[in-house]
Amino acid sequence: MQQRIGIDVGGTNTDAVLMQGQEVVGWVKTLTTADVTSGIVTALQELLQQTSAVPGAIRGVMIGTTHFTNAVVQRRHLTPVAVVRLGLPATECVPPLTDWPEDLRELVGQATYMLPGGHEVDGRPIVPFEPQAMEDAVYDIKARGLTDVAITSVFSPVDPSLERQATAIVQRMVPEALVTLSCDIGRLGLLERENAAVMNACLRRMGRTTVQAFRQALAIVGLHAPLFLTQNDGTLMSAAYAEQYPVLTFASGPTNSMRGAAFLTGVADAMVIDIGGTTADVGALVKGFPRPASLAVEVGGVRTNFRMPDVYSFGLGGGSIITAEPLRIGPQSVGYELTSQALAFGGTVLTASDIGLAAGLAVFGAVHLLHGLAPSFIQRCVDTIGQMIADSVDRMKISAAPVPLIAVGGGSFLVPDALAGVSQVLRAPHYAVANAVGAAIAQISGEVDHTVTLGTRSRDEALAQAKALAVERAVTAGAHPDTVQVIDVEEIPLTYLPSNALRIRVKAVGDLQLPE
């Protein structure tokens, strides 16, 4: 049976599992380190040692990471971006980043350029693109010392040529620039696609160093298997692709943990709560897959149109900082510094983990360091945490009937055994590493996104053709042909055009077929 390793690199913990076929052979949980690499190296070394696995026998390594999401949410490690939009005179009244939270806009998007260009829906230019105006913008970008650029042109999903022309100008004038094109990431909906492109651009430098750190860690322990990262829909992308498109990892954490929770408990319909070091995510599992969000999803306060799992995140985790009078639990967290900053580890910061320890919910650290906490205060904290969890589960429930709740994640000891509206709390085997299990069982996808004119063929023929092509692409990307299924079909009729134009997007997924 094939062996594969799933790794989850969270803000606080790095978890790794070794799976053989459908079985979890071994798992470890270590702390995420500031340099990322050494934490993964430690996890992998412990895992290999524990399972006596041979690095040469591992056929694939799948990493899920919340690194990039956390960077946006916490406004850390983000690079300032030059935001270029081609579309004037259209779009003039809503400049880029208009609806962004002010702090994030100040950090990332001080330089925005709105230039003539863009296309109409039928492919005609809105007004001619002006290379000179683009060059002027790039002079300014260069003068400001910016090297990360996001380019969005109106209707680029229909015609990407202007984004490519503008990119060529940037690359000629600023060879070291990393340019993100909106057409490579998003779909129709200018502001949401532009937002995704800007977020990707501000994460590119971090994407490079992070993926490099992953590769380095694998090399250090002698693993030469192909490296994959998980995307927001729970499928895999190659490491090289992930370096260019870090934004596609957004929300992969919740997807992995929910898929892992379903896999580990064998329960396909339930609520799932994943409590990590900094945040807790609550979502609903329907037939083993997360229920997708139906409408626009915000990341760090920014509106996007990715298809993501419908997850409610709130600031509760093992590392959540607690202050008294008034009692506040989170959203600030000590993160990966838990074992140096938390009271139970000799630090000076009171965290949710300290409360869990003092209340007897968990066992770690030095309980005698917590003798200064009054029992009544501990109870107040425990009650408040239970209430926070009950409220969030209730918010995401599909119906009023009591449902099972699967508790996963390293901080899941904070979930009480009895909760209003919950039929039973299920604690999965290997609950602490559900995320990494979800990454290890992640599938591979093939996508089609094209516009067809219905005239000579029917809608059914066009759809069948697109589905077949998506399946073929999944297989080419490495999916086992017998396991490929079409999971998503979307049709967008382009109204008000004389012809019957239809945009079709199809996604197929299957199990990754690894080399023997």
């Binding site: 809503v94 208009t98 209707f155 139906s294 809608r459």
Partner: protein, 362 residues
């Protein structure tokens, strides 16, 4: 009812939701229009709403909005000043200042577009519209149903290309010609049409629908704030009823004559388990059927709402797997007269059905 009130940023949030609900699946999302309106308020501009009943009979009122494909308006966002530009073109033509603006369609993005011209041109917006909801065609509005002229009318695009229709036979002809021009303008354009008198507005408009849209949004926002399901209070406040609840299992679409027609099938859950509801749409939701039984037809309002948040789901966003509640609201009285039903009843959309008002006890 206030005689005049100024729109606040909070009102804009409520209006966005209310306009989406009244859009009955179409009308376009007012989000980007709202962003610009919010920006204008921030700059110190004012948007004053006035009660139509206080309009002098000889006041001059112009309907302002955008026409074209909603898919285009979320991608090729407006320039911003094309609505006022169209109004000024009409003013030059008639040789008189315009006194107030009105929305032709409170459902969707046209609810707020007059407000952009109002803020930029320092003109009030009338609390009312010509539909009380959204409809796919220009002539489907009470102003035309009750005999107001369709010309002169101006179309303006993002490049400030202006086309003036000096004389048209009727609203059907304006619709045909304006559509042809709009396609050339990039499938979306601003219009200003037919200065009408205050007396005419009072006789033909659906009254107080800006207030209604704001109230719908306020009910939804308040329920969300309390973390309660907004659908029951929403249905109660508007005198409507829940038609169905379930999961979308199929969406069939075709584009004919430039409209997104299709049907969505919803499989029942909970109380509706074992049943299927089918909704026909043409940009907006038209007919809701459960088996052979017709539950609701135009001009009554059929809204597909996301089950937990009451977020209205546009017909273009309908997708397999969404959990939804379908609610029906009675059409405003000006849409249900015999005269109106010829234009906005089921037969006007090609159905061999006669309009029967929504049965409020399903």
């Amino acid at each position: 009812m206030d005689i005049a009130w100024d729109i606040t940023p909070d009102d804009l949030e409520a209006l966005e939701i209310g306009a989406n609900v009244l859009g009955t699946g179409g009308g376009g999302n007012p989000y980007t229009v709202k962003l610009y309106a919010r920006e204008l308020l921030k700059q110190g501009k004012r948007i004053t709403v006035i009660d139509p009943l206080t309009l002098p009979d000889d006041a001059l009122v112009v309907a302002v909005g955008g026409m074209g494909a909603p898919t285009v308006s979320i991608e090729r966002i407006i320039r911003g000043d094309e609505f006022l530009h169209a109004v000024r073109a009409l003013e030059r033509h008639v040789g008189r200042r315009i006194d107030a603006l009105i929305s032709k369609e409170i459902g969707g993005s046209n609810s707020m577009r007059p407000m952009l011209a109002a803020a930029l041109g320092n003109l009030p917006v009338v609390d009312g519209d010509g539909m009380g909801r959204a409809f796919p065609e220009l002539q489907m509005c009470t102003f035309f149903i009750y005999g107001l002229p369709a010309a002169p009318a101006a179309l303006c695009d993002i490049r400030h290309n202006v086309v003036l229709f000096e004389e048209v036979r009727d609203a059907f002809w304006l619709e045909r010609m304006a559509r042809a021009v709009t396609i050339q303008m990039g499938c979306h354009a601003a219009y200003a049409m037919a200065p009408w008198s205050g007396a005419e507005i009072k006789r033909t408009a659906v009254l107080h629908t800006v207030t209604q849209a704001r109230a719908i949004g306020a009910v939804v926002l308040e329920a969300r704030r309390r973390q309660e399901n907004p659908i029951p209070p929403l249905v109660a406040s508007q005198g409507g009823c829940v038609l169905f609840q379930g999961k979308i299992v199929d969406v069939l679409r075709r584009v004919t004559g430039g409209f997104a027609r299709g049907e969505v099938t919803i499989e029942g859950l909970d109380d509706y388990s074992g049943e299927h509801l089918t909704i026909d749409f043409q940009n907006e939701n038209l007919i809701a059927r459960c088996g052979e039984m017709v539950l609701c037809t135009v001009p009554d309002l059929i809204c597909i709402l996301e089950r937990d948040t009451a977020t209205p789901i546009n017909t273009e966003l309908l997708r397999y797997g969404f959990r939804v509640v379908v609610v029906g609201f009675p059409a405003p009285a000006p849409l249900t007269s015999a005269q109106a039903l010829q234009v906005v009843g089921p037969q006007a959309f090609g159905y061999d059905l006669s309009y029967r008002p929504l049965a409020l006890t399903p």
